[in-house]
Amino acid sequence: MVAVPKPRRGAITGKRWVFLVSLGLMAGLLFVPAGHSDYLNLTFRNILMYAAMSYGWNLIGGYTGYISFGNVAFFGIGAYCSAVLSKAGVDNLFADVGLALIVNALFAVAVGLPILRLRGHYFGIATLGVALGLTDLASNLDFLGGSGGASIKQIGEAHFTTYYYAMWAVTLACMIATFFIARSKLGYAFVAIRENEEAAQVLGISPTRYKVTAWAIGAMMGGAAGAVFGAANGFIDPPTAFAVDNNVFPIAMAILGGMGTASGPFIGALLLSGANELLQQHFLKLHALFFGGIIVLMILFLPRGLMYLVGLRGGMRRWLSDLAVFRV
């Protein structure tokens, strides 16, 4: 029998105090609408949206170790749920999010059962295939508006604030759900699968069941963000709903913040989106170069993400020796 290294509690959620700081930052974000700036509302709503998507990816990619390149599919499905409901005359955020949760859970289970049998890279590409396929499919389906897209009726006068708080609530839910899932038996099972799938199976953890569970919960997170985005944006079309950025950024955020932690995606989203926004403002054409440069430096010096630095004991020497492990 192979022994599964039992993860320490801290290793599964990240440092407790960091999580508390993240909650504090979330509380701070409650006051963004008080600035009465649509620009700030939109910018921070996007940051929250990316964070929620990043949490969705983090469950399957960070905790279970199955790297998905297609989580944007869930976001897109969520956004289209809002569009379909709006077309049917239902304009209610709770209904939008509710439908997105159900549809995404069902879709994730249906797709997950066959493709989660695939290992590593093959799983990754299968998910990418699903996302790419859905994009083109959506542009060919008339009842979804095809390439022309679909409008979603906006609710209320002060709607910008409403949608901001809706996205905030979704993100907070993702954050707290991740925290509790990570500490529960479910979380231990996810990590056990990531560390050694065969061993986990020997220990009586059914990999398929847990993998599909992680995948489906992550799908619901991305879907909820998508549903709020669709309603808030008032319009979606395939390139918006399944945008490449929505696929790459959440992964980048989870990596830079710290994969498999409860605060990593949020911290990563704040950092990466904030940096992008600032560069975008100050460097008309060069911003892409600086943005790329920052990511290169981050990966070269902090390949394990920011959470690693927080938990680091042993100073510079330990850091360098940890880095050296990755060299050939």
């Binding site: 620009y39 022309g148 950025d245 950092l271 054409k285």
Partner: protein, 408 residues
């Protein structure tokens, strides 16, 4: 050391997240500030660059001529740009930023229908007038928006004009094949052409769409070849036009007229295809040949505009440049008519504007779309873009039917 790095990163985090709001205020006082998100990186870089040239040309002209006289006061003009990376969502955020943080007075449109659509939504909500010259999809104007104005002819007209010209040729062409890229603009172009063809006795033998950003269209070409049409059109962008044109030659597909919605008017088309671009026609918003005589206040003819433009940017303006400058002109005359910088008054002045410029008539229907200015048809002859339709302004005769591949 580690402690320092941690502190630094924490500071960077706070700065990155909350430094966003810290920004400069608008250049107030005697300057009118326009804001625009244009594509300076990404897939629409080239077109975004042309848009910026068109805007800057007007700005430099106006400032060099003492500025813009509004009522009793004269203002300098300035344009604040951001790079939307060719992405609609980014353009939307930047529009919010231009309005809320940079406090611009008015918006000039981005390049492309996708980006113009999201920015139009922002302009509407914030009640900031926007004039755009580079988003032709009618989708933008069918939302009931009151603050967005487009100086250009709508997408549906792009290839209709080519068909209008075609049916007057002898022998009269009988059949049409039209492919389209799967994006909102191109599908509207295709729809407009197909509808027109059916109403005017042209048989549509092939009409289909291929994925947006396709890298290979050879099977689309084969299907068109099998349908053996008299007219071959493609609704798409520059890349599509180049791919389709190469494909048609490679499979030796002959037709009496070959035309593209966007492409032939960009100098890159001839540069990329060389002599294979010969005799290709394209629907265009404007050409140097148009004979409008504009009202005073700016270059009054297309020729004067083009010559001055060439002096500043060292290339002839294409219609993307011209329509961008025209967007600025709409603002210029509307602001002067309103006699004020008040956004509501300028909006009303735009809505009732009716002026002739070097670009043609600028007048908006109740959706904010300039349906009054006709399109022209250009053809590439001896490596040069000439205007062949409508006859009143044509500076060359249409070559019809076009010679077979290899005989050009």
């Amino acid at each position: 050391m580690i402690r320092t790095i941690r502190l630094f990163l924490a500071a960077a985090l706070v700065f990155a997240a909350f430094g966003v709001p810290v920004t400069q205020a608008r250049a107030a006082g005697d300057t009118i500030v326009f804001g625009s998100a244009v594509s300076l990186t990404g897939s629409l870089t080239k077109e975004g660059h042309l848009t910026q040239e068109g805007y800057d040309f007007w700005k430099d002209y106006t400032n060099a001529h003492g500025g813009l006289k509004v009522g009793a006061k004269t203002y300098k003009v300035d344009i604040k740009y951001y790079d939307d990376e060719s992405k609609p969502n980014t353009a939307q955020t930047l529009a919010e930023r231009l309005i809320d943080q940079d406090k611009v007075d008015f918006l000039l449109g981005p390049y492309g229908s996708g980006t113009a659509f999201t920015v139009a939504g922002v302009a509407e909500r914030k009640k900031i007038p926007m004039v755009e010259g580079n988003g032709a999809a009618e989708k933008i104007f069918n939302q009931g928006y009151k603050y967005t104005f487009g100086v250009l002819s709508p997408a549906k007209k792009y290839l209709q004009r080519v068909l209008e010209m075609a049916v007057n040729q002898k022998p009269r062409p009988q059949t049409l094949a039209i492919s389209a890229s799967s994006d909102a603009f191109s599908l509207e172009v295709q729809d407009g052409a197909v509808t027109w063809a059916q109403q005017h006795g042209l048989k549509v033998v092939y009409a289909n769409k291929y994925p947006d950003g396709a890298t290979d269209v050879s099977s689309v070409i084969s299907a068109i070849k099998a349908a053996n049409p008299d007219i071959i059109l493609n609704a798409g962008h520059l890349q599509d036009a180049i791919l389709v044109n190469k494909g048609l030659k490679e499979q030796n597909v002959q037709a009496k007229i070959i035309g593209y919605s966007v492409g032939p008017d960009t100098p890159d088309f001839v540069g990329t295809l060389g002599k294979d671009s010969e005799d290709i026609v394209g629907g265009a918003q404007w050409s140097e040949a148009v004979g409008y005589r504009g009202i005073p206040g700016f270059y009054r003819t297309a020729k004067e505009y083009a010559d001055a433009f060439d002096k500043q940017f060292h290339h002839r303006p294409d219609y993307h440049d011209a329509e961008s400058t025209a967007a600025c002109l709409a603002f210029q005359y509307a602001i002067q008519k309103a006699g004020s910088l008040d956004r509501e008054k300028v909006r009303d002045a735009l809505a009732s504007l009716s002026i002739t410029t070097f670009f043609g008539l600028i007048k908006f229907d109740n959706r904010g779309l300039n349906v009054y200015k006709p399109m022209v048809v250009n053809q590439i002859q001896n490596g040069k873009l000439v205007t062949v339709f409508p006859a009143e302004i044509a500076n060359a005769k249409l070559r019809y039917p076009i010679p077979v591949w290899g005989k050009r």
